[in-house]
Assembly symmetry: C2
Homo-oligomer: 341 residues x 2
């Protein structure tokens, strides 16, 4: 083992016959130092590969420049993109990110948040679990003067800034697009209406129909409970075999849309000429299906990056009364599954 003795501030000071404070100031770009001294110190430091001891700095300054991030599942395309975006934004600002996952269970989320708090993170970015209604475990961060930003899945019981997707608008655009393409009988494979995102998507769908003079047909709205491919398949089957089959489907997620696509292909419907299809979330797979799947992109990278920026802003302002909710626009990606024309 080959552990080099690391050079410290004091070593430099002694060697240069300066005080540690002067060396510290020179290295950290304080004003009111002579150019000479600064040069001298910097050169010496560079030459001897001085690296400040992060732990000492953290300890002294009582901050770590580490942000905590908790998501339900890393292994989920949307969340992995938000993580990726968050990492980049954090790196730019000199922060790094400690990751944890809740598996959509409150218990795990509480443990993870306590753990991160114990690790001394400066702030927390979290997309809460489905089970999270109360937020004492998150309040603990605020109580210690640490900022919290919620994103995507949020709880109103924590007074913190929030960052969400404009589901309503995304769903509206998707539905309007189908209408513009000439589809008139548009069904919606929706989600549970007690989940906010699902509700908003439904409302966007509904509004688009209304604005274009189409009536909402109750029997064309099928709520998926588990948001699975199987549900997409079977609900589509049910719809297409009904008295009044739709000519297009707007699905709450790409996975559901994939189920729909699988059924439609198995039953020899041609997409998009007979039936149009639009998903939501822009999973990676939507580029690779045949035909490719139109979808509503949620800009995961941007969302992660924005969450970091909001958090760091809090940290700097120590303005802990900000509870605004920021809505991020979505973007409809038109692909093969919905372009009749």
């Amino acid at each position: 083992m080959n552990e080099k003795r690391k050079i410290t501030l004091k070593d430099i000071a002694k060697e240069l016959k300066l005080s540690p404070s002067t060396v510290s100031r020179a290295l950290n770009g304080y004003p009111s130092l002579s150019e000479e001294t600064i040069q001298l110190v910097k050169e010496y430091a560079a030459k001897h590969q001085y690296v400040p001891n992060t732990m000492a700095v953290n300890f002294r300054k009582n901050r770590t420049s580490i942000l905590g991030m908790i998501v339900p599942q890393i292994v989920h395309h949307f969340f992995s993109t938000t993580i990726s975006g968050a990492l980049e934004a954090a790196k730019k600002r000199g922060y790094s990110i400690l990751l944890a996952q809740s598996y959509d269970h409150l218990k795990e989320e509480v443990l993870a948040s306590q753990y991160l708090l114990g690790m001394g993170v400066d702030g927390l970015i979290i997309s809460v679990s489905n089970e999270t209604k109360e937020a004492e475990h998150l309040q603990a961060f605020l109580d210690e003067g640490k900022a919290v930003v919620q994103f995507d899945k949020i709880t109103e019981s924590l007074p913190s800034p929030k960052l969400v997707v404009d589901d309503f608008e995304g769903a509206y655009q998707a539905t309007a697009h189908l209408i513009r393409e000439g589809y008139r009988k548009i069904a919606h494979l929706s989600g549970r209406m007690d989940v906010k995102n699902a509700e908003q998507r439904f409302l966007g769908y509904k509004k688009a129909l209304e604005d274009h003079g189409l009536a909402l047909q109750e029997e064309w709205v099928k709520p998926c409970f588990d948001i699975t491919e199987e549900e997409g398949f079977s609900f589509t089957k049910a719809l297409m075999e009904s008295q009044n089959p739709p000519d297009a489907l707007f699905c709450i997620t790409d996975l559901v849309a994939l189920g729909a696509m699988n059924y439609l292909k198995s039953a020899n419907y041609s997409i998009p000429s007979q039936v149009g299809l639009v998903g939501f979330s822009n999973w990676m797979l939507s580029e690779f299906t045949s035909p490719t799947l139109s979808s509503v992109d949620q800009f995961g990278e941007e969302m992660g990056a924005k969450a970091v920026e909001m958090l760091i802003e809090q940290l700097q302002n120590t303005d802990f009364n900000n509870t605004e909710t920021v809505q991020l626009k979505t973007k409809l990606l038109v692909r093969g599954s919905s372009t009749k024309s």
Copy 2:
């Protein structure tokens, strides 16, 4: 803002008329302390919610209990599963993980590793970029007495423990399975032979053919360069339109297999009765195609967890001469695309 004054060791000592050292020992379960004292201290600490200051402990002990992890891309199903597995294993052992990505560029990887080193991680888990041949930036960890474990994509130029998938065996199993199912003309959409994983998969394929008395047909091996869905599509088209079309395809990844599947369906071949198909990596999508895609699972979770365990073991033994390569078994997941019988 509502920042509670945090209680420290000294506070407890003063209050209990003990010395800080005694309190520290009591809390950290040292022997040679009277039961009474231990009880007294623990109760007081619990009652007043004493939480040790992590930064001070890290500083004092000169370790952070944080591991660094660098992967080419978080937004990649396999890597996100390894991250997930690594997180769980680390949590169990009292470590947390700082994440960074290289985007498969050496330059980014060097930056990320320097960054993590600067953050004072205790060790590093890395899957190197395609561009990484030399490893000075990783050697820097070893030079500072910090352990490194490589996984999945590795470079031989760093003397560290390595953890890889048994690609040969996985490919062998996949090919043998196709043969057992009755396919006899098995093509291979391979990768670049200068990439080790690709080479091993090819060799496993080749060996399986030989062991079952089938001749390797040069024209049935198509090396994909970018490992894309498009390549899968076009090479499959070329193969099926050739004089001597195969009756099964073993593909280097699921994405390539998806391209193959898309072509086959578009040309009205029926899968699996006319053409059998097996992929590699068990992407999430392989469960949701129609038919579902047989694939070779790489146990990403286990791999991430194992990497953490290997790293922590190093940390504890400070045995830095371990350069063994551990091979993890794969598992063939037989699904709809390859079951003739």
